[in-house]
């Protein structure tokens, strides 16, 4: 076999994406593109009320409509013991409501018909009589003793309180506050928003009546975990369930939970013996599937006279909606919120979170976020800004004084995190240099004197991503490891199978590059397969920026396993001892005689044709990677805004982002992830809001009311990097996809508040819309 001329394209290269070849031709295969012979269509009837008893459901007219095959209610599901399902937070959620509805949009009945049009027609013919109950929309109200009880289905649930959770040392923190020269406090609400991937959720369930095999094409970010949960919920043998997560049109956490529609469609296919497709429309997606945030936060920071942070406290009321369906590791009902000390060396910290049921859609999912890191990062970066304003210190100087220094890593935080690596000062310095910070501060002063408003916002975030370690982090008991299986074929081409699942992140390209970097097989010769539980090793899936930290590590480790075997085969081929073989970029050569070499392709062929005596044939392996720690990406984001006094409208003039995600696999893809995340951060800061009226009607149930950033509003970004490798990750990489969504909202809000600080305005909750800005200025008599 001759040496290949194809470039290897390992780490640090930006080959164009393999997956694009089908997407640009319209040949992607998303769930709604799955069209099976004899397929039925399902539509779901949803509650118009947020809180009501169901008096009766009359399905007779719907049932009689031509083309309707079945009308399914909660009673039908109960007959099969499927009226309730477990959530990812060990709560129970109604699959189809039985006696009561607890949020607007809740699933009440389903119609299965020969066409989607007929199924929707039939929904209109179902007659449900409701007896309205008092809706509980505000979580503070929900926690009052006389609040109506939302979860009457749970015998032990006597109030709307779900959990109390705390982390840190309360006494030490109280002592720090007692000794502080200054205490800064901030009440802020991180509002409910929705990930809104462009593709909604859906499935095609096909249960073969002869074999009992259930094949379910599903919009799933975690197909293996979902298969296990399906097996547990439905009592189906796990080997008889195959979940295929095909091309996914964006996830952002929205496709982590299991939704009632999946369960009903699968049950319908099982009972009817035909494939059933259910794809929700956008309104259903917005009003019933996993929302994010909804954290009412109070933060307090204790400072010394010279601007050192002495302590940090936080109290949160978390609105989880009507079912606790938050996608969180089991031990952490408030996710990783206790990363709230951020990038700072804080000696004492304590946080507590209380979860509440309300009559709103369930969720609390990690929207482009590692389990509540976003809320935590927003709180600390807003507090730092407020502390700077109140102490008269430059916010940049306050950060410098309090950063964890680079020689402190690995750094153990006051609440127990061990930060793996960082150089926060370097990222901040680079951002300020690219921004032209000092010049902008001069300009700001001059403008203020002329009565014009401009602001500079800074956020120096630290994330915590890549769960597990499995002993600490599990989802519904399943440890958060991940896996890779690598098969190198006789001709030196390979197939890599993963437990994670891309929703646009480009795994087919980047994971091939990881293997290429370790084994020297060109990335273009490696096919990546994922999202099919029959054909990939078990993994916990893609969310919370865990693909590269966990799945990427598994890919590197399995490639190293095969390389170890390849060394033995090369020694055999070169008639030397294993100890004399060196490896470099796809070549195995004799130490001191680099011309005596075999390529990985030679070795692969030999693995099937010419093995050392007694060696197991083949060149294949699998690796399950349980990370020893999380990775801690960081960076500094800076935003410059100009505010129009007449309208309150703010515009981003400049946005500079410095990200450090350790070693970059494919810089082009990393930059694309950062662009996208910064845009979602901008959207959350400026416009994305799911809210409710006092009756619990969702305001934000379509893209006219729930605003997403378009090309017209979205600013351009200037992005830069520093590289501080993770010391414990096999290739030094950290996660990156969520950093910009985690870090940037505070930068935008800090910029607006920086402009308004001379007026004494210290808080405007997101989304920071022009009417809120104008009202705040008006209240201060400025306009």
């Amino acid at each position: 076999m001759s040496e290949t001329q194809t470039p290897i394209h390992g780490l640090g290269h930006s080959p164009r994406r393999k997956e694009d070849d089908r997407f640009i031709r319209g040949k992607g295969n998303y769930v709604d593109d799955v069209i099976l012979p004899n397929m039925l269509h399902m539509a779901v009837l949803r509650s118009p009320l947020a809180h009501a008893r169901i008096v009766s459901i009359d399905t007779s007219q719907a049932q009689a409509l031509e083309g309707v095959v079945a009308v399914i209610t909660g009673r039908d599901m109960a007959a099969h013991n499927l009226a309730w399902m477990p959530t990812l937070s060990a709560d129970t959620q109604a699959v189809l409501a039985l006696d009561k509805v607890v949020f607007q949009g809740q699933e009440v009945a389903a119609v299965v018909a020969e066409s989607a049009y007929v199924a929707h027609d039939a929904l209109e013919l179902i007659d449900v009589e409701y007896e309205p109950l008092e809706p509980v929309v505000d979580p503070h109200r929900a926690l009052e003793p006389d609040a109506p009880l939302i979860r009457e289905d749970k015998p032990d649930q006597k109030s709307n309180h779900i959990f109390h959770w705390s982390q840190g040392d309360r006494a030490a923190t109280d002592k720090a506050f007692a000794e502080a020269a200054t205490v800064v406090s901030l009440d802020t609400f991180y509002p409910r928003c929705h990930p809104s991937p462009l593709e909604t959720c859906g499935c095609v369930a096909d249960v073969n009546p002869a074999t009992g095999k259930a094949t379910i094409w599903m919009t799933s970010q975690a197909p293996h975990a979902h298969r296990t949960l399906f097996a547990l919920v439905a009592g189906l043998p796990e080997q008889n369930i195959r979940i295929i997560s095909p091309d996914i049109g964006g996830g952002f956490g929205n496709k982590v939970p299991i939704y009632p529609g999946y369960v009903v469609a699968t049950a319908a296919s099982l009972l009817l013996g035909r494939p059933v497709k259910w794809v929700e429309d956008r309104t259903e997606n917005l009003i019933s599937t996993g929302f994010a945030r909804d954290y009412h936060m109070t933060g307090e920071m204790a400072l010394s006279a010279d601007g050192k942070i002495l302590g940090l406290r936080s109290k949160v009321i978390a609105d989880h909606g009507a079912f606790n369906a938050a996608a969180q590791p089991t031990k952490y009902p408030a996710g990783l919120f206790h990363i709230f000390t951020g990038s700072y060396d804080v000696p004492a910290a304590y946080c507590e979170v209380d979860g509440a049921y309300t009559n709103k859609a369930p969720g609390g999912i990690a929207y482009r976020c590692s389990f509540r890191v976003t809320e935590a990062s927003y709180l600390i970066e807003r507090l730092v800004q407020k502390a700077a304003t109140e102490t008269g210190m430059d916010p940049v100087e306050l950060r410098r004084r309090n950063f964890i220094q680079k020689d402190q890593f690995p750094y153990r935080s006051a609440v127990g995190w061990v930060y793996d690596s960082g150089d926060y000062q370097r990222a901040l310095d680079l951002a300020l240099e690219k921004l032209g910070y000092d010049e902008l501060r001069r300009e700001q002063k001059e403008k203020w004197e002329r009565g014009e408003l401009m602001g500079i916002g800074v956020a120096s975030f630290t994330e915590v991503v890549g769960a597990g370690h499995g002993a600490d982090f599990d989802i519904a008991g399943l440890r958060m490891f991940d896996s890779a299986e690598l098969r190198v074929h006789p001709t030196g081409k390979a197939i890599l199978k993963l437990g994670v699942k891309s929703q646009g992140q480009g795994h087919e390209t980047t994971f091939a590059q990881i293997v290429a970097s370790q084994l020297g097989i060109p990335a273009s010769d490696i096919t990546v397969v994922e999202g099919d539980t029959d054909n990939t090793p078990y993994g916990l899936g893609t969310y919370a920026s865990r693909s590269t930290p966990v799945g990427g590590a598994a890919a590197a480790m399995v490639a190293r396993k095969l390389r170890d075997k390849a060394v033995k085969i090369a020694a055999h081929l070169l008639e030397t001892s294993e100890e004399d073989i060196e490896y470099s970029e796809g070549r195995f050569f004799v130490r001191g005689a680099p011309d005596r070499a075999k390529t990985i392709q030679d070795v692969a062929f030999a693995a099937y044709t010419n093995l050392p005596e007694g060696m197991e044939p083949g060149l294949e392996g699998v690796h399950y990677y349980d990370p020893p720690n999380m990775t801690f990406p960081f960076g500094t984001y800076c935003v410059v805004v100009d505010i129009d006094k007449g309208t309150g409208q703010w515009k981003t003039r400049k946005m500079v982002a410095v990200d450090d995600c350790g070693v970059r696999i494919n810089p082009m893809i990393v930059e694309g992830q950062i662009h996208g995340g910064l845009t979602e951060g901008f959207g959350i800061a400026a416009m994305q809001l799911i809210t409710f009226d006092e009756q619990g009607n969702c305001i934000g149930s379509n893209f006219t009311d729930y605003l997403l950033p378009t090309s017209w509003e979205t600013p351009s970004f200037e992005i830069y990097e520093t590289v501080t490798p993770s010391p414990h990750h096999p290739i030094g990489a950290k996660g990156v996809g969520e950093s910009p969504t985690v870090g940037s909202p505070a930068a935008y809000v800090n910029a607006v508040l920086d402009a308004l600080a001379p007026l004494g305005i210290t808080n405007i909750d997101m989304p920071v819309t022009s009417d809120k800005v104008w009202a705040a200025m008006h209240e201060k008599g400025f306009v």
Binding site: Y30, D33, Q505, M668, E671
Partner: protein, 156 residues
């Protein structure tokens, strides 16, 4: 209702319900699943196709309205075996991630370039502002459209 629509250069006749949406006609009746449905209310642009060269959101346009007209979908972008310069540029400039908005985005771009062969960044941002992308942040899409414009310009 009997309709006759020229889809990607081929005349397609069908007997359709008057209420059938064009996007369902394309996806379900003709199997052209490259046109996606994102919001059902013309808010996102995933379903954009060209009708007589004009971008139309096919989730709020009836199939019968396309009777006697020329419809172009993503499946019609290639010329023989060759990618259209817009397709090539989206790949080269990393103008897509999950790929769900991409067909609609490319067709809107095609209509733009037909009327404005050398668009500024602002021109592109305005033209595609009815097409939502949740992944890319638009910067690379704008680059891709302008790069395609340059490519087409250098060919002609």
């Amino acid at each position: 209702m009997l309709i006759s629509v020229e889809v990607n250069g081929t005349e397609r006749k069908a007997d359709v319900e008057p209420r059938l949406l064009l996007v369902h006609f394309l996806r379900e009746e003709l199997g052209l699943t490259g046109t996606h449905i994102g919001c059902d209310t013309s808010g996102c642009g995933a379903c954009t196709v060209l009708v007589d060269g004009v971008p139309v959101k096919s989730c709020t346009y009836l199939a019968v309205q396309a009777d006697g007209r020329r419809v172009e979908t993503v499946e019609g972008l290639m010329n023989g075996g060759a990618l259209h310069p817009i397709q090539e540029a989206f790949k080269q400039e990393h103008g897509l991630q999950c790929g769900f908005c991409t067909p609609g985005m490319m067709l809107t771009a095609k209509a733009l370039l037909a009327s404005n062969p050398d668009p500024s960044e602002e021109d592109v941002r305005w033209a595609i502002s009815g097409n939502v992308c949740r992944c890319t942040g638009y910067m690379n899409i704008v680059r891709a459209v302008r790069s395609a414009a340059a490519q087409i310009g250098s060919q002609s």
